[in-house]
């Protein structure tokens, strides 16, 4: 068996980042890519847009049709890798093949969490929403039995995206969230409240502080859900969106070190030589602004960047990763929002908050400061130029000279010291 110079398991944002990273260093040596899903690389966040009918299947692709060919990649689609033997540098697949490698990237992403203790959760009509196939199956279900009422379990990002899609196709939607507010992982309370009010204005029933206790079937099909608070919600469609966890099945038994995700260093290398991991499956160094350490932060920009840095290292250029930062831009039924870094700090004098809120408009802007630096921000309603703040967080810029301008309506690059402005204006090599 000849060893592939580069082998990638996975075919999504981290894999694409890796390919583009390798090709920025090495134009020649071939790449082999293995993917469980049978599709050419598509955009995972678009699955809810597809469900909503906002885009068609043709628009799902993340890169042009000639992407693999142009980059010298042999993509083997529809094949599942089942084990890695680091000592022999081999990956084995479910169909009995073995692929040798010189350098390997594990980019198998995450998989949705399904609660184990909910009777009836396997009823036809209960879905997750993390893949192209999921979106297709849900569409077929809606078309097939004319479902009108839906339950979305989980008030995080994917739950919100699911709600938005179902509202767009005209369904009556109930969202349940166990914690006392939606989007609690990325928003502070004020932003969560704005998001909730926006959903409610669009007719969505938002129920916090409870979750589903059992699914009820009628004629073998989902007919409703009973909640922990004893109430029931009629529904013939349910989407479970309580979270995504790194998919570690491939590395089990390989000896590669894991915690929540696959542990990697600042070159994205795992505990095994020549084996790298990136994206939702990885637990990578996190940005200092959020306290450092190694964290799983499952968002697309991190997946791409980690893949890119891993690719460059695999190809022999020493490159260090700057650290993952939680950030998201989410449109809540027409209310644009952006959250970056630490948005809801623990109580205590270490942190200082600057904020402005207009409930009517509505808009909201909040900055979290610590030791003369910005460590987090939330924007809702007005998001133009939010990236300048992201940049200041990223660069750990000292904001003491212009602190009072941060909330002003015309805040811009002009508010920043000339030195910093010059660095931004030069535009070379800025990292996410």
């Amino acid at each position: 068996m000849s060893a592939a110079p580069y082998l990638i398991v996975g075919n999504s944002a981290a894999a694409v980042g890796c390919i583009e990273g390798i090709r920025s260093v090495d134009r020649e040596r071939p790449v082999i890519l293995l993917s469980r899903e049978p599709y050419r690389v598509y955009s995972r966040p678009l699955v809810s847009y597809l469900l909503a009918g906002k885009i068609t299947d043709e628009r799902m692709f993340y890169r042009p049709p000639d992407f693999y060919e142009r980059n010298g990649v042999e993509a083997i689609l529809g094949v599942t890798a089942v084990s890695i033997v680091p000592s022999r540098k081999v990956v084995e697949t479910a169909d009995g093949r073995a692929f040798g490698f010189e350098k390997l990237l594990i980019a198998t992403g995450g998989r949705p969490v399904i609660p184990g203790d909910v009777p009836g959760i396997d009823a036809p009509g209960v879905f997750t929403l993390t893949s192209w196939d999921d979106a297709r199956a849900i569409k077929a279900h809606i078309a097939g039995n004319g479902a009108r009422e839906a339950l979305v379990v989980g008030g995080g990002l994917i739950g919100l995206k699911a709600v938005e899609a179902l509202v767009a196709v005209g369904m009556k939607v109930t969202m349940v969230e166990l914690s006392d507010r939606i989007l609690s992982a990325t928003f502070d309370r004020a932003a969560s409240d704005l998001a909730r009010e926006t959903l409610e204005r669009a007719g969505v029933a938002v129920r916090c502080g409870t979750t589903v206790a059992r699914m009820e079937k009628r004629g073998g099909m989902l007919a409703g859900a009973e909640l922990r608070d004893g109430s029931s919600v009629p529904c013939s469609l349910a989407i479970i969106a309580i979270g995504v966890l790194p998919d570690l099945s491939l590395v089990e038994g390989s000896g590669i070190r894991t915690d929540r995700g696959i542990l990697v260093d600042d070159t994205l290398r795992t505990s095994a030589p020549d084996i790298y991991a990136a994206g939702d499956v990885a637990q990578a160094p996190a940005a200092e602004a959020i306290g450092g350490g190694r964290k799983c932060i499952p968002i697309l920009p991190n997946a791409y960047r980690q893949g890119f840095v891993a690719g460059q290292n695999m190809a022999g250029r020493k490159r260090t990763y700057r650290g993952a930062m939680p950030m998201n831009a989410v449109d809540v039924l027409g209310l644009p929002t952006i959250s970056v870094g630490l948005t809801d700090p623990p109580e205590g004098s270490e942190y200082e908050i600057l904020s402005a809120l207009d409930r009517e408009a509505p808009w909201y802007k909040k900055l979290v400061l610590k030791g003369g630096r910005i460590v987090g921000a939330v924007f809702a309603g007005r998001i133009d130029r939010a990236g300048i703040i992201t940049g200041l967080i990223r660069d750990r810029a000292d904001i003491s000279g212009f602190r009072d301008l941060l909330l002003s309506g015309d805040f811009g690059l002009i508010s920043l010291p000339a030195e910093y402005r010059k660095h931004i204006v030069s535009g070379a090599g800025i990292e996410v």
Partner: protein, 149 residues
């Protein structure tokens, strides 16, 4: 890949006249005519160059077409991409769904929400012309065309 043509921002020379913004709008209007553009299309077009002004300081800024551009890395659809021929960072409006990840990560604040469609609006370097409209119409060379960076 050819290096991108870069627009050099020279803050010392900017007089804050905003002609760059106006000519950017006109160049990206359907009619290409200033009167028509301002009568009927202005509200649909966001200028891709912005003049910022405070006291005696002012400058005009548009997309920096960064190397390793954050907006390309953060784009979830692949709409934001590097043009293979010119190296420019371009947004394919047909593939953009308006998620605003690009706005979130642009350290220059140079990507905006488009007005008429759910698509991001940014500088395209006027690739169909030799000289971008903002540069061509700057009366004081506060915007100039740099060589390959």
């Amino acid at each position: 890949m050819k290096s991108v043509k870069r627009i050099i921002v020279r803050e010392e020379y900017c007089i804050g006249c905003r002609l760059c913004e106006i000519h950017c709008i006109v160049r990206h209007s359907k009619s290409g005519k200033i009167i028509k553009a301002f009568r009927s299309e202005k509200d649909a077009i966001v200028p891709a160059v912005t003049v910022e002004q405070k006291g005696y300081t002012s400058f005009a800024l548009q997309c920096r077409h960064c190397d390793e551009a954050p907006c390309i890395e953060a784009c979830m659809t692949g709409a934001m991409r590097r043009d293979g021929k010119t190296g420019a960072v371009l947004c394919d409006r047909d593939r953009c769904v308006g998620c605003w990840m690009c706005i979130m990560v642009c350290p220059a604040g140079a990507v905006r929400q488009g007005k008429c469609r759910e698509a991001a609006s940014k500088c395209d370097l006027c690739l169909d012309r030799d000289v971008p409209a903002c540069v061509a119409n700057c009366p004081n060379e506060a915007l100039t065309l740099g060589g390959d960076a």
